[in-house]
Amino acid sequence: MNPNEKWVAFYTILIKEIRRYLRIWPQTLLPPAITMTLYFVIFGTLIGSRIGEMGGFTYMQFVVPGLIMMSVVTNSYSNVVSSFFGAKFNNSVEELLVSPVPNVIILAGYVMGGVSRGLLVAIIVTCLSLFFADLEVKHFGLTVAIVLMTSVLFCMFGFINAVFANNFDDISIVPTFILTPLIYLGGVFYSLDLLSDFWAGVSALNPLVYVVNGFRYGVLGVSDVDVGFAFAMLALFNVVAFSFCMYLLNTGKRLRQ
């Protein structure tokens, strides 16, 4: 395919993805709005007022960036995993596999579809958070860069999960047993300073720590970890995930017989 045809193919996948999550918005856009509002009310307002300061900010200000990132992560992930697994399940993925669309465009289309939902949810949740906390973004460019890299990363994780999944249970196992614990232990609700050296060391292996702290630095200007390092780690995770996705597509593992 020439570059123009590739662009058409990419755009076609992207539009199809956006149309999908907009069509089922009560399952895709409404839940994060409701859950996050509950988090803001409970942790920020009710409990937060008794916790006092965390990392030099009110507890509400401290948790908001983490909660925004939490919705970006879960929505990016679940968009790609449900859409791609769904296509695999009803065999419509064959429409793409038999076409001349290059593998990298297939991946890019699904990932950017997920990113668009991740960003849309980030905007919705950020708007809601303004009812509860005053947020002023300190480093705008960095904040956007972290959100994008995070969203792309978790879209690729969702893609990998979808390729390996054999049934609908398999696509909920990873979010329940891996993603949610990583998010909760990634420093959304507490500062890593509160942990013992051992647990702080273990946390360094959790990609969510870099995601949450990088973003918190972008918004609030504070972070539990070095921001340059967080950025580098996030980039590294992206490269590894991308290589693995391309490996899966190029060998046709679990997609072609």
Binding site: E5, K6, V8, A9, S92, E95, V98, S99, P100, P102
Partner: protein, 312 residues
């Protein structure tokens, strides 16, 4: 002229050890209407799946219009349109969106996809259904939707895997007419089938596959000529005498006005008619008794390898 499809020594062994293709070779000329005929489990879908890139071959080579799939599969894919055996579209999508999206996957600008979608939905009688979700279509309509989808990028070679399985007779005939029409307009067509009648009605050339091997590959006419005996049913204009003998032919009196005659290879129908005239017997019409292709098949593969023609 390069062939539309050249397959050499194609092999497929599935991970579970099943050897679905044991080295098949085929050539399909551009403009041909070609049948790959064989009983269930013969290896038809496996062959087709390799052409679709959904199945990785274990050995051999495939060229589509001279392009080797190992060298440039994306280029080869642009010239083929694909109608798989099983439905493989998202049933929650609208008919029109399925076609326009397909155009996008082949790099067609949106306006052109839209125009082609309309053209082929019209031709296949689905235009009224364009805003329906695919799940609301009947089985025959779903099959036609897949044909329309395969044509959006106007491929030079259309490949259909058992396109009329589970389609009622009337629908099957209109589908045949449509396929003949696009073949006349220049599209090369390959279809797999286990309906003998289908191959006989539509195709110029045929390969018969069984247990992963090509057991016969010839023109339809040659195949039919190779049959040793044809059995004709003659409807007589005059009533038959109680006993009748025709020198050189074995014949049976079915009833007053019907005679069954075996014509061997080398004998001619003219000869038969002159014998009948000598005895003052006039024939008003004649037809073949059995499906000759079916006999051919039995002689090649042993008894009853195929399902009945009109199972649905």
């Amino acid at each position: 002229m390069t062939a539309a499809l050249t397959i050499s020594n194609l092999q497929k062994r599935y991970p579970n050890g099943v050897e679905a293709l044991k080295g098949i070779s085929l050539e399909v000329a551009e403009g041909d209407f070609f049948a790959l005929l064989g009983p269930n489990g013969a290896g038809k879908s496996t062959t087709i799946g390799i052409l679709f890139s959904l199945i990785n071959k274990s050995g051999g080579s495939v060229q589509i219009f001279g392009v080797d799939i190992d060298e440039n599969f994306p280029l080869a894919k642009k010239s083929i349109g694909i109608v798989p055996q099983e439905f493989n579209f998202n049933v929650f999508e609208r008919v029109i969106d399925i076609l326009v999206t397909q155009g996008g996957y082949y790099g067609l600008p949106a306006a052109l996809s839209q125009q082609r979608a309309e053209k082929y939905l019209q031709k296949l009688g689905l235009w009224e259904k364009r805003f329906d979700r695919a799940r609301e279509l009947s089985g025959g309509m779903k099959r036609r939707l897949m044909i329309a989808r395969a044509l959006v990028h106007e491929p030079r070679l259309l490949i259909l895997d058992e396109p009329t399985a589970g389609v009622d007779i009337e629908m099957r005939r209109s589908m045949w007419d449509f396929l003949r029409e696009i073949n006349v307009d220049g599209t090369t067509i390959i279809l797999t089938t286990h309906y003998l009648e289908e191959a006989e009605m539509l195709c110029r050339n045929i390969a018969i596959i069984d247990h992963g091997l090509i057991v016969k590959n010839s023109s339809m006419r040659d195949l039919l000529q190779q049959l040793h005996t044809e059995v004709f049913m003659l409807d007589m204009a005059t009533s038959l005498p109680p006993s009748i003998a025709l020198t050189g032919y074995s014949c049976r009196r079915v009833d007053d006005h019907t005679l069954e005659v075996d014509v061997d290879k080398g004998q001619t129908v003219n000869q038969l008619f002159s014998l009948l005239s000598e005895q003052g017997l006039e024939v008003s019409s004649m037809r073949n008794k059995a499906n000759r292709l079916e006999e051919m098949f039995v002689s090649l593969l042993g008894p009853a390898p195929l399902e009945a023609v009109d199972e649905s």
